[in-house]
Symmetry: C2
Subunit: 519 residues, 2 copies
Amino acid sequence: MTKLVRNAAGREVVTEINGQKAIPFQGVGAYKPEGIKHAPHISSCSDYPADGNKQVDSIREALLKAGIRDGMTISTHHHFRNGDLVANMVFDAIKKLGVKGIRWFPSASFPCHEHLIQYLEDGTIHHIEGSMNGPLGKYVSEGNMHGMAVLRSHGGRYQAVQDGEVEIDIAVIGAPAADPFGNANGLEGDSACGLLGFALADSQYADKVIVVTDNMVPFPCIPWQIQGNNVDLTVEVEKIGIPERIVSGTTRITKSPDRLLLAELTARFCDYAGIIKEGFSFQSGAGGTSLAVGEFFKSVMKEKGIRARFARGGSNKYLVSMLEEGLVDYILDGQTFDLDGVRSMRDNPRHVWTSPFTSYNYHGKGNFAPLVDVAILGATEVDVNFNANVVTHSDGYLLHGIGGWQNCLFSKTVILPLPLVRDRVPVIIDEVTTLCGPGELIDVIVTERGIAVNPLRKDLIDAVKDSGLPLKSIHELKDEAEKICGKPEKNDTGEKVIAAIKWVDGTVIDIVRKVKVQE
Amino acid sequence: MTKLVRNAAGREVVTEINGQKAIPFQGVGAYKPEGIKHAPHISSCSDYPADGNKQVDSIREALLKAGIRDGMTISTHHHFRNGDLVANMVFDAIKKLGVKGIRWFPSASFPCHEHLIQYLEDGTIHHIEGSMNGPLGKYVSEGNMHGMAVLRSHGGRYQAVQDGEVEIDIAVIGAPAADPFGNANGLEGDSACGLLGFALADSQYADKVIVVTDNMVPFPCIPWQIQGNNVDLTVEVEKIGIPERIVSGTTRITKSPDRLLLAELTARFCDYAGIIKEGFSFQSGAGGTSLAVGEFFKSVMKEKGIRARFARGGSNKYLVSMLEEGLVDYILDGQTFDLDGVRSMRDNPRHVWTSPFTSYNYHGKGNFAPLVDVAILGATEVDVNFNANVVTHSDGYLLHGIGGWQNCLFSKTVILPLPLVRDRVPVIIDEVTTLCGPGELIDVIVTERGIAVNPLRKDLIDAVKDSGLPLKSIHELKDEAEKICGKPEKNDTGEKVIAAIKWVDGTVIDIVRKVKVQE
């Protein structure tokens, strides 16, 4: 069995992942990286077509030219979300080539990738490093994957590639628009997804880079979100994604009264705490509650004549309307969730595409996350020490990715609006099933039964003490949840470690064990 | 004395430059680089201000925080051309700190940097690696600099930094607009210069990066041509450049009848040769003749209803007018030469800022230069083998930089419109004083007395043979030049090697020797 050690968060974690040494979490900001960034081989233009045309006939041919062989690491991105067709095509081709033991390194996987379970079964794919949403998560949770999964935040994925922790042999980058030289963007074409930032590290650091598009345009493809100078080969295929699963035509704010209450309480808290002020900045997720928070922000801002300097995306029509109404100067966007987001990013120079490098990479010379005044985030569980979990359910199943969540914890104020109870299971508990974010970075828990402020944030407690908001301690909230559902039983897992959860600096903050499958 | 060897171009060159091994030129495309790119140290956000504010009070303080010490390599860029104030301020500060033996690595230097000769004299600067236009060139030519100068093309400079051939300790990047985090661009402010591409490699690969601006804006400075995530320190000073010397308010086409004739012949040649066709691309310099070529192109295109896919800049009002009139789809611009260029780049998404990485780096996975159908370039001398010189005059003085010239030689057709004689000195001669570009890459010499096509380009010779254009052999042109001026005497230089001329792949294509100073 893998050797376990207790890390600085008190969690037992692995010291080796798939044969590679792993460093236990040492505390926020404590681990100091040494050494140099990963450096790709020096190329020469004399080895590339003089006319700039790097196009080959098929994904198969591109993989062969890129030197595909057993045991390689192949990366893809998830800007197409549950509408992605590229990863499945890539592994169909790999399977046909008879190549085995691939490490698949997606920025995230979705239910559409259930197709790949057969390749996990037959050894084409050895293991996945990347967020697993849905069926693959279930498959892995039940202990079926050969290797150990590794989950990283968006910033952590960039960090891992930049630092050489993960060396990508072949990156396959699906692109809604590209030219034969390899310049590519996500703004145009049937599969438009907005931007391609999740593939940036791959394009910069992978040994070989393949761009796959269903919309080949003549050079130059402008803007070049992915730079052709980093690309080895280009391929045109009929279809890279299913548009309606890539971006939604309409984003909808929650209509649930409970969630609207959470949103309203969150906005009122921010207002009282003095966070909503001229020139402030915010990041709010794409979920229904988060969207509603944004709308409440908007009405406070309009009422008081306040303008935000920037909002961090995921973008959607609500955020775009704030930009267009002059309520925010800039959207700094990491992914677009609807067609209004795509249009705005394409046409409005104030709607700026970012990347995990600019926004989240913890091993850079700073990043944007700590400049954000307030981040509104979610969680599956929070414990009485404000520690939070975003990847597993309380039954132990690993069903969600980390996304930018860990990275956003560095915002000046982090607020989690959460229902006290979900599906008759308390959300606020004694100890999280899986630790994804240390409590010291989580400032406020907003529930429909009350708001708990982290005792570390005396400034916030002072600011809102006379607000009339329903302030409670985190223990009071936990007790209320238990009153409703009863005290939850300790989750009973197996011994086998099926996944490691990385912190933003590449250290291991927690592990996930195999669930006990009900017979 | 330095050991010399004969390179593949038949030139005697050094094998060591300032104590570092140098590789002789091996032929176009022959040298294959090995190894990996230069990799900077891994940083951690925990070592940078949590609020993203990296601003310090002065250049002196920034240099101290960056760890300035004897023998370091300090880089600057030349987007401010002869209006730059930054490099002089930096070395004034270094002088006051008593630091010695600096290698100054500008992307180019200009007459405004004559101020720095005192620091070459007193040992503050050991030597310069970078193009030297004017007084510094004269100073170096006369053998006064401690170390050997190294001249590189724009692409070669990127290559040298990327490959780790030049390790920059501290990059100082003057920026017309910046935020305290270090995001910066050249588009806004009193010192607007358009873009900052010449500093891109420096920002990516230098150990420490300092952004100096006279226009600090609140985060985020959009667009971020230089990414703050690569920046260590920011400084605000009163003035970084002299606007009227950075970009001209008005660009003027030549009125010289001789030059207009060169331009007209060049355009007619391109027209007959079938180069000016739907979807073609061109690059034309910023000199008076080149501008006139562009205007002739424009009239041909309008007459025939032809639209170019892209034009490579340097941009100016003439090129901008072609973009605005819909004659070119895109300008891919490396530097803006006038205010219309700056405005267009700021406001028109089809006026795209590029960098030596995208356009010129020979050690990338291709670059843009070979995709250009025709490049119109200059030269100080051309010889009967079509070899050309752009850095020295026939008296041996090293007075010009290479710029993007070597890189543009990879365009599909390279045309040099040149007067047969300059200042009573033949321009077409038996052997160039300094070899900057091998004749095999130079296709056509256009002079007022006739046009010579490189015999290697049988296709071009066939295409224009019935054009009625005054076609001659290069030998005929040389003879005509000698009829006018007499046969030039062989230039009499000293022994001392004062500069090495690099080819685009980092090999040494030629050297420059000390001139014999007239007493």
